[in-house]
């Protein structure tokens, strides 16, 4: 096969193959999530769905890895050279780490649906910056670069997974607070919620519907509680907030196009996709595990990503010393890496400080992800620094 055939193959492996497999896996997993509170036969179906979701995810990861290998062969270098490749690999790392962590360590595979969904979205965004396979500037092609970039890209993938957990945590927390509020308010809301918080925890030991016949009533109440939880997250507010938070990053595409219509198209596509994803997540709020679990997931992932980011940034400084003769020059990308590091350190501190835990910490974490994405896009699109190699 010659290079162009390989290039075609790698493209097909990426889209539609991997993207579709990821999406299918995401939705299968999410279906499995909804069955955790169902009747026994539903739970059985859920179990099957979990297996199918896992199979789809592994197949998707397989085609994704195949895409990376074929692309690497087509251009005879590691696929870590431009924004498309970096974004795609970031999704791959996030999905693999999510799978290993949730399936084998946490043993809550349903939750992986959200990670797969996030992975699909990141893959979709990578398609906005698709580039055909090509050689890398020789000055970039070093062991240093591979080490530095793969660590940072891996950390970005992990931070993406953490962002998803924080978002879900905030959704679930908002819903629970709303339900609790309704119970406290005199005459407001129903009282069914209180008894059922435990039932709905995926990781709880409770298995509602254990005796199919006699607890129709209980299940009706559980359904009511689920509806109350969902209603606890205001749709419009969620949509607006998602739009605002996404917009705080995606304006870069619009700006890079000189505020043109193509840029506006990208801006709106990305924002509305994220709004749709948020609304979808809202629908799944009743099936989410407890806030403590989600918060813990977010914290563990951030901690892992933070270590990788730290080592990756240090490696970058070492490479800069070798390649450019200075280890740190406050180049926009270096500044961005530092800023991201500070932001996530802020999150870890917030988690460690009593009184800033929970929602506040999650918001700091979301802010850190916004910083990560914004500096990544800005440094690539807006500012031409050393890292963009406009000249030697």
């Amino acid at each position: 096969m010659d290079a162009s055939q390989l290039a075609d193959l790698s493209r097909v492996l990426y889209f539609p193959t991997t993207v579709m497999l990821y999406l299918a896996s995401a939705f299968t997993y999410l279906y499995a999530l909804t069955t955790t509170v169902g009747r026994r036969d539903e739970q059985r179906r859920g179990h099957r769905a979990r297996l199918i979701g896992g199979a789809l995810a592994i197949t998707g990861i397989g085609t994704h890895v195949a895409h990376e290998i074929v692309r690497g062969l087509a251009q005879n270098r590691l696929p870590l050279g431009n924004m498309f490749e970096v974004t795609s690999l970031m999704a791959l790392v996030g999905v693999v780490v999510g799978l290993v962590y949730l399936q084998f360590i946490r043993k809550q595979p349903e939750l992986h649906g959200f990670v797969m969904l996030g992975g699909s979205l990141v893959l979709g965004m990578a398609m906005l910056v698709y580039a055909d396979p090509g050689p890398l500037m020789p000055i970039l092609d070093t062991w240093w670069r591979t080490f530095h970039v793969s660590l940072l890209v891996g950390a970005m993938g992990i931070f993406t997974a953490a962002f998803i957990f924080m978002g879900l945590y905030l959704l679930r927390d908002t819903a629970e607070l709303a339900v609790a509020d309704a119970r406290v308010r005199p005459g407001g809301g129903s009282t069914v919620g209180a008894a059922h918080v435990g039932d709905l925890e995926v990781d709880g030991a409770t298995t509602p519907g254990s005796a199919d016949g006699d607890d129709e009533l209980e299940r009706a109440q559980a359904a009511e509680y689920r509806a109350a939880l969902r209603a606890g997250v205001p749709t419009v507010k969620l949509a607006v907030w998602t739009f605002v938070v996404t917009g705080s990053v995606s304006w870069v595409w619009w700006f890079a196009d000189g505020w043109g219509t193509a840029g506006l198209g990208r801006f709106l596509t990305v924002n509305l996709t994220m709004v749709a994803a948020a609304l979808l997540a809202r629908w799944f709020v009743p099936y989410l595990p407890s806030t403590a679990t989600l918060d813990g997931l977010a914290h563990r992932t951030v901690a892992f990503g933070f270590v990788m980011w730290t080592v990756g940034t240090i490696a970058g400084a070492m490479w800069a010393e070798v390649s450019w003769g200075r280890f740190w020059g406050w180049d926009p990308k270096e500044t961005g890496a530092f800023l991201t590091w500070i932001a996530y350190a802020g999150y870890l501190h917030a988690r460690a400080t009593r009184g800033v835990q929970g929602r506040k910490a999650a918001w700091i974490g979301i802010g850190a992800f916004v910083v990560l994405m914004a500096t990544y896009l800005i440094a690539n699109y807006v500012i031409v620094g050393l890292h963009s190699y406009a000249e030697l």
């Binding site: 946490r106 403590a292 400084a317 802020g346 460690a352 030697l392």
Partner: protein, 614 residues
């Protein structure tokens, strides 16, 4: 009695913050109390969080606004209003130091505050940690039922044998054990809430991660000092010089005067130069030339072949590649930039007024190289603005078509001739700029390699073109220290995040009803309780294997303990990390544990080893 009892008040979270300020009257008193308040403010971790937030904001500013040390020309354009948000906005940015954020007073002040806050936080933490390492030991437990994780087994071995087995097992798993005490010694009566006297059961007490987690965090934070010192000393000791060299032309010596741009640190003296000499023999550069190939136009090689001559030694050939700098006597030589160097000969009235290479630099937008030819030997002065197009092949009519490609397969030199006063030494100008203030243009001329053109009484020839490379020579003695600091940072970060603090007890007691030995393995995880659950079960299973006993199912546990302790405070189930501001590792302990806790943190005169529990 050095043991803490249930009735003792819980440890004060942050005694310093609650102590009222004693305020002396008068202005001194005011200064004193403000100082105390400021100190309290700076020692709060939340303050550090705010400071980090402000540094983040400043850094964001530095990402959005061009920084003078990086891109001085862009900053100049912003100030002149040619680019960016306009002159007035630029003045505002200047006023807040926005063009040089990392050199601004605000940034330095903030850094100082951050280090002050860091120091204020570190001093008590380091002291507490040292005390922890030197004096603390795993505490004894009285009420096992109060512990969140438990497993039970029965065996026919004697309790003392089980304890010995458990100690061996835990040691193998790298737990830190409370020094062994004979079983009978541990059954001393202890005051229970001041109401009753109950024995502490004989037990094995162990813990894990208490030193390493906090120690890692301390190492991580302390590495900032190493980094800071390395950076500050680096500023003083470093040296950085730049110099352009043309292929085949004489190079330069490592002496202060031969660098074009010279930035020594304050403590770097001119005597510290080594005096070696560097010449550029050839510079190789190439690109992906096929416009249809992937990555078209991208460079593929940047390589300088050089000759280095030590002050008193033989010349030696060496190569400097884009990712492989050359080390000469501890100085690192890197290629910074490159360009074409056309040789231009200018003659007036048969007199050569200029013969030399000009170092043309690439235009910001790419595609061509710019420079200037200055001939002050002519009278009046003659100057040429020069544009070098490396690849300008002729069309059918022989007219050159500049393509913007950087390879010099069809070089074309375009000159614009000026006559008048070059104002050398009278005005600010670089070698590549012509100050045309006092000159008049005499129109353009174009030359191919080897051509000579007569223009307005001036003969200009372009015999050859070479390349030049801008080298940077740097001495950075701080690098090793920076690497060391970074190593400490990572070495501290990993245990700070991944060492989990756990406590574990094994209590074996004779069960009179069955005549067997009942063993309880109980524990508590301060982080990641769900992972600990498994670990504890593993340990219990292993212990059961080792003692020929069997594990009891999780429910149906015989409770031999005080049932009242069941409503003891449990650790917060939420979150992996229930840690506190003050990092007293024992703060989260419920008071069911008989511990040396107070003495861990606040040594009391009694804790001289006279504890009856030892």
């Amino acid at each position: 009695m050095s043991v803490t009892t249930d009735s003792a008040p819980p440890p004060v979270q942050n005694p310093r913050a609650r102590r009222p300020t004693r305020r002396a009257p008068g202005p001194l008193g005011f200064i004193w109390s403000s100082t105390v308040m400021a100190w309290r403010w700076i020692t709060r971790m939340r303050t550090a969080l705010y400071l980090l937030g402000i540094i983040a904001l400043q850094t964001a500013l530095a990402t959005a606004i061009p920084q003078e040390p990086n891109v001085p020309t862009t900053v100049a354009a912003w100030r002149a209003g040619e680019e960016g948000p306009g002159v007035i906005a630029s003045q505002v940015i200047d006023a807040i130091g926005g063009f040089d954020v990392y050199g601004s007073a605000a940034f330095l002040a903030l850094l100082l505050l951050l280090y002050l806050s860091l120091t204020a936080c570190m001093v008590p933490r380091v002291r507490a940690w040292i005390r922890l390492v030197r004096h603390s030991q795993p505490p004894l437990v009285r009420h096992l039922t109060g512990q969140p994780e438990q497993a039970h087994l029965v065996t026919d071995r004697q309790p003392a044998q089980v304890h010995a087995q458990a100690q061996q097992l835990l040691q193998g798993r790298r737990w830190r054990l409370r020094p062994h005490e004979p079983d009978d010694a541990a059954t001393h009566p202890v005051a229970d809430g001041g109401l009753a006297t109950r024995p502490t059961p004989a037990q094995v007490a162990a813990e894990k991660g208490l030193w390493s987690r906090e120690g890692g965090s301390l190492l991580f934070h302390l590495s900032f000092y190493v980094l800071l010192i390395a950076i500050v000393l680096g500023q003083l000791l470093t040296f950085e010089g730049q110099r352009g060299v043309i292929e085949g032309e004489p190079g330069f010596h490592d002496t202060a005067i031969s660098y074009w741009s010279y930035n020594p640190g304050r403590w770097f003296s001119e005597d510290d130069h080594h005096g070696w000499r560097l010449d550029l023999d050839a510079f190789e550069v190439d690109w992906v030339r096929d416009p249809l190939a992937p990555g078209a136009g991208q460079p593929t090689v940047f390589r300088s072949e050089v000759t280095v001559t030590p002050r008193d030694g033989e010349p030696e050939a060496a190569v400097i590649d884009s990712n492989r700098p050359l080390m000469i006597d501890g100085r690192r030589v890197t290629q910074l930039d490159w360009g074409y160097a056309p040789r231009v000969v200018v003659e007036v009235d048969g007199q050569v007024v200029h013969d030399g290479f000009i170092q043309a630099v690439v235009n910001q937008r790419g595609g061509f190289f710019e420079s200037a030819v200055k001939s002050p030997a002519a009278d009046p002065d003659i100057g040429h603005r020069a544009w070098f197009y490396p690849f300008a092949p002729p069309d059918e009519d022989g007219n050159p078509i500049p393509t913007g490609a950087p390879w010099d397969d069809a070089p074309l030199l375009v000159l614009e001739q000026w006559r008048g006063d070059l104002q050398l030494g009278a005005s600010q100008q670089t070698v590549n700029q012509l100050d045309t203030e006092g000159m008049e243009s005499e129109g353009p001329l174009a030359l191919r390699v080897g051509q000579t053109v007569e223009h307005e009484g001036v003969t200009v020839s372009f015999p050859e073109v070479r390349r030049w490379v801008g080298f940077q020579v740097a001495s950075r003695p701080q690098l090793n220290w920076l690497v060391f600091g970074a190593g400490l940072l990572v070495a501290g970060l990993i245990p700070a995040l991944y060492a989990y603090r756990r406590r574990l007890w094994v209590v074996a007691s004779h069960d009179h009803a069955t005549g067997r030995t009942l063993v309880t393995v109980a524990g508590r995880a301060f982080q990641r309780p769900e992972a600990f659950e498994e670990e504890l079960r593993d340990i219990a299973e292993e212990l059961a294997d080792a003692t020929g006993g069997e594990l009891l199912p999780a429910d149906g546990i015989p409770t031999t303990d005080d049932p009242a302790s069941d409503d003891a405070p449990r650790p917060t189930p939420d979150g992996d990390d229930a840690t506190t501001d003050r990092r007293d590792p024992d703060d989260d302990d419920d008071d069911l544990v008989i511990s040396d806790r107070r003495s861990d943190v606040l040594p009391t005169p009694v804790r001289s080893g006279s504890s009856p529990t030892r």
